[in-house]
Symmetry: D3
Subunit: 312 residues, 6 copies
């Protein structure tokens, strides 16, 4: 497979790409053509199909397509002139080659997550986590492949799990440093804090807000899911359920950020810090990785930021 | 029964009052005495028990007690000197004589609420409302006696239902004036918007925030209750459940007021207006009723307000 | 008359349109041509006059012009190629065919407004309203044809009266529901609250901010007009004039929205709610009417909104 | 006259004071007595009348009274024990001895104000100022004795004129430094900017918000007064009236400070700066004058402030 | 030594306490007496000296005094009636018995701090830290005994070092978790971020804002101190000095919290998080330690908070 | 020299311009060409170099270049077709012909500044100002040519000194009007308040934020410079240095505008007013000078503003 960031002017291309956008436009002469945006995990490229003949089989946006064509330059950017297209079959491609994907191995992350569940001592919390993450295979698969956001930070395959683990790791550290933190509660809250995102955002390749996401939000949906599962666990202590629910509800830290309650428990405060810290440092990392020149504006931090240079 | 606002200097008193506060203090001489705050629906009065002898039977704050004593003046205010106390039995008093209570008849309000449920055409919403308000007698009794707030507005027995009906009535009017509003949805949302307050505040006489109220809040708890009940209704349309849930979640109108989502549906906007309008006008009414002199400061409106005088 | 939203590629056109924009441009060859925006009540269309010969009589932007030409497609949109133009005479057209116009009949609305004036019991307020709306024919005609805003909501012919009536109707309802509201005052305040907009915005077709509008605003100008007229009414009670003035001054509800005083009277609070409620629901209606696809962003509500779909 | 700040423990007093507060209280024994607050320009003192006999003639709060009594200490403060009281006649006292009063001579300030009016070149503005300040003797007397605020800054007799002149002087300076400023407009706006305070606050001795002040505010009332007077001046240019009105309406600088329009003219911006600068520096001066120890909290500046000490 | 929290009604006392407040008051009879507030590390107690005879030697507030007297109850609280006082000599007491003091051992913390300095690899930063913390013995002693705040959090002897180490430890953890963080810079910035507090607050026992603290603040003073010392280090790279200075200047995270620059470097963001996290969790811990009953209001978090109870 | 605002279609040009931007682009045919932005003090003009032959000597953006070419029109704007280019030598041009420059004479302004220094009575402040402005010739030259901002206001050669003098002049006036202001301190603070801008912004022609400017800011850098110089002055009183430092640190008036401390001294308040007043009035002046049509939007004032017209 020839990755998009390796394409060079004048090359011939024959490979599979994910078709993110497909518009039907007209030339000044009134002739129809397609303007596409093709994507793989290394980036996106504009493509044009000028001749809509038999070589162009039916396809839609969000399809994986096999493309034959040539690379040209247009206004300083690479562009594909496509002569043949056919939809790719399911076995022909691996989604992870076409979507931005976590640098961490997904199986390794899943194992780390299971390790955290295994470390919980409280029976009820351990059962709750087991039922949500381990017993429900479909949910867990969706969780492992989901992004943590449409953009902003961790907007890639595996991003939700990567973010969840980073937050949990910070909480684990804080539980060691601050004796008042109950480790079981803070680890459980960290693991659960963003599970509502599996419903708030659709899965890849679309990775966009769902209707439920817009009307209810991941904070409500995640808390509700935890409560639904806890009801199936005989004797789950009411106060403990309230506390773990509070950790999820309040994890954005402030009402104006969408939490209906501010954090009132030490564990909830720790989770809010860990979440905010990982989101911002990861956003910074992604900005540094994608911007060769510094300084650059970070929308998430609403500030002009820059790589450190004083120590080589 | 002799109401507190009728007590006069020099009178003898023998009657039942609600003991809201009971403190054990010491005189300068080191002798213990009780300082009480007694309450009925007309107000509160300070009371002192200087002699802790056999005539003073055991009681606690939040008990209804039969008090014998005399009325005196102290620093310009009425005060009770109590010589005998005994706890009142359950049948001796009616809570509504001792707590601030709605001016509207509770049965009449309950009938009005049932009338609104009867007017809903959509089967699923009608079933949902029936199960919540009519089938669950215990919940409905609690709902009819609850206050809508600890203070601020409708802080009296029956206040939650009175507020709910006022909001529903405004929504009913708006549904007639604005054709785009779906009457079934806006009426259902209005009836349900504050049901979480039954869990957020404890019942009278204490009428104070519960632990769940502080950690989860009525917005989350009300929405969760609606979803729990809807799950018992076969075929309840998912989109409809999302929409009625959104109406509850968003009814505070802004994130900084504790709604995790701003209103995105016309019906949710209407409910937010009706809720805000009734809360503020009722708060104003209560201020006017309790303040003979104008202008007066309204905490809820954060403004100095006054009765209109230009037209007699 | 052929409406703009009915024009089809290839048609010949001969009709009157309102010329909203007229620019003189040059082709690459250096030849002058006109680029116009033509408007009727159904929308706008770009038009070009490539040959500036005798067939093109003198006209300016904001003129009504009779246009002869042909309809073509350019970059997916309809466009007019105009060969002849002449200014239309006053009797040849009716402004309401060319401007966005209220869906309600203007005479019917005027009658409704007079009905509200007729229902006022207080002599002074009734005289005040009569002098402003009924005795001053010129003002009343302007009022009936004005928009309520440049954009945002009710930005069409008759929009100011439509909005005024909607606000008054809500206030009438609230006066029934809340006994503390003085109906005469709240209805008068509602009818008068936006009369300053007749001076703040110029009349159609331009419908733009005037100099006085920018420097003084409709809140001040409306209040000042009421005071000027009230001075002509012998014995108008000073306190009543202050109260009705306060209702106008405070109707934006908050200082940061341009009211120099927050509402301090129950009637002023009711008017503020009614104004805000109607403005937002009408803005939503206009958004739904003009956006086939949902969700859509509402600038006025600063939120992504959507039509309700759960109940068909 | 013996000033309050000169009273010493043990002295006998016989003099006239302004009675700011008069409360009728009861001793523990049930005997009525008066608790007064007496005031002169040097401060206030508590006074008690224990024996309500014939020597205590009838008087009310806000009366000037001749008091005979003795000075005692109570809880570290001076207090008056009063044995005889009679109301003082109008000719017996001069209000300026009893109220906080400007350090500047009132006649001298009036002359300075007239000088500014004389320096205006534009006929219409000069006529406007003459009619408001010079022709209306009653208004001018009220203006010269008014305070600029209930508290905050310039809360003393003559304070409104002192503040008006200071603002005008700063504007006069700015008109010299910035050529784009029209001196006639900026001086007129400065002289007129706070004339509404004569209606917003009652005159001394009460110096408190009037009903009109609370419901309409000095910004609206001042602008309305200028417009009423301008209507009497034949040919007053409409645009000029709009501009001077804008200077008054916008002089608080921001909507949230109660101006319905932000300053849009250079002169309006200059007046806003001058007003804010003088208010804050005067508030600081009054704080320094009344607080021997530093640092001290300034409510107006919302900051802990201090006298400069680095240069003796 | 008898600690204040062990004093019981009726006991005789003979011991050394820190005199925090000394007021000279008068009884109703006009006799002078002293009202003191005495303090040790376990709390404060009111004390009265009714007889100012020879047994009461001269002392001032902020002195350590040997007190002989008896314990009494007054209005439900312990109080000391003092009969003899003399100032204690320097060797008679240890400040740490009288002031709230860190639970951690100060020498142990000093060793931990030195360990962090030893772990820095960059020569310039290591020299900088060595000169500031190790070479300047006087500064280091002050640093080790200082509080981190007047109240809010870590307001005790050793609090500044305890807070500094906690922040550094979090940063050390983050440097391991996020590869983009330069450990030398983030550790140096963490160690230095609050050194300006040694000048902003006076040392114990007064522990109050200094004049320089109020006018310049610890953010400026700390940065300036770092720059002054760096100038003494030959060849200190300018860019590195800018970066470490930026970490100190920006550590409050937002302009409105007093940082003149928002964090623009990853290390500065990490320090801001660590500082905020430790300050808030420590404030919570102190609240939990001092409030037996929950929930309680935390001023720093502006929220009602509570100990976790769901897991025993 | 032919100024850019005098170039006319069809002319031949042979002159020196400042090359602000130089991009290498390609035509559709794949041929490289240069797209330049040339600048002199009267404005900017686009230029194209289609033939990159020997006549085009090497140059970079930010170079002064001698250009030979012809003036053409493109899309309604003047454009230069350049046939020959060579870099200009240092003696061939005067920077002030190519950059926007103060309307005031720079030597005259320097003299005025020296006059203010001469008027200072306090020896230490006078020495401080002398060492900073007069003894350090290099700094003073930079100061005299610097702008006060990248855009917003005074963004031209000499702008920093012009602004500094305007602020100082206002402070001088205020020191006369308000006796509590110490003239030496307020004048010194005014002269020094923006000296950090010499380091925050690079010199012309680039006039852009430096790395130190972004990471440290002119408020910190200016204060630090003053402290560095003061340390060289034997006996400089510590309190005086704190006060003058405070005047610089606090001159933005609010934390959210980047001052780490709000003004706490009368002189600091005066400097903040003078700075804000001059910045805003100058921004308005620049807007009026560059916008023939009114009203216009001012970004700095966040308002639509307009020239005054009521008085011709």
């Amino acid at each position: 497979m020839r990755y998009i960031n390796e394409l060079r002017d004048g090359e011939q291309v024959n490979g599979i790409y994910f078709c993110k956008v497909k518009n039907t436009l007209k030339t000044k002469m009134g002739k129809s053509y397609y303007a596409l945006t093709l994507q793989d995990k290394t980036g996106v490229v504009d493509a044009k199909i000028w001749e809509l003949n038999n070589g162009i089989e039916h396809f839609e946006a969000m399809d994986y397509i096999n493309v034959i064509g040539s690379v040209t330059m247009y206004q300083g950017s690479i562009q594909l002139n496509v002569s043949r297209v056919r939809k790719a079959g399911e076995g022909e491609y691996d989604m992870k080659d076409f979507m931005p994907t976590s640098e961490r191995d997904i199986n390794e992350m899943a194992a780390e997550l299971k390790g955290y569940i295994g470390s919980i001592e409280n029976t009820y919390l351990k059962t709750l986590l087991t039922k949500i993450f381990l017993d429900d295979k479909e949910f867990f698969k969706a969780f492992t492949l989901h992004s943590a956001a449409k953009s902003m930070h961790h907007g890639f395959v595996g991003g939700l799990m990567e973010h969840t683990l980073a937050v949990t790791k910070i909480c684990d550290f804080l539980a060691k440093q601050y004796a008042m933190l109950n480790r079981d509660l803070v680890i459980s809250g960290a693991l659960l804090h963003d599970i509502g995102k599996v419903s708030e955002l659709s899965a890849f390749p679309s990775n966009d807000y769902t209707d439920d996401g817009q009307l209810l939000g991941h904070i409500y949906m995640g808390t509700a899911k935890v409560n639904d599962v806890a009801k199936e666990i005989a004797g789950f202590p009411a106060k403990l359920l309230t506390e773990v629910s509070h950790c999820i509800l309040s994890h954005h830290g402030k009402l104006e950020y969408g939490s209906p309650k501010k954090p009132s428990l030490a564990e909830a405060i720790a989770i809010n810090f860990a979440d905010d810290c990982d989101a911002k440092l990861e956003a910074l990392k992604e900005l540094f990785d994608s911007n060769p020149t510094m300084p650059a504006y970070s929308k998430m931090l609403d500030n002009v930021v820059r790589r450190t240079e004083g120590i080589k």
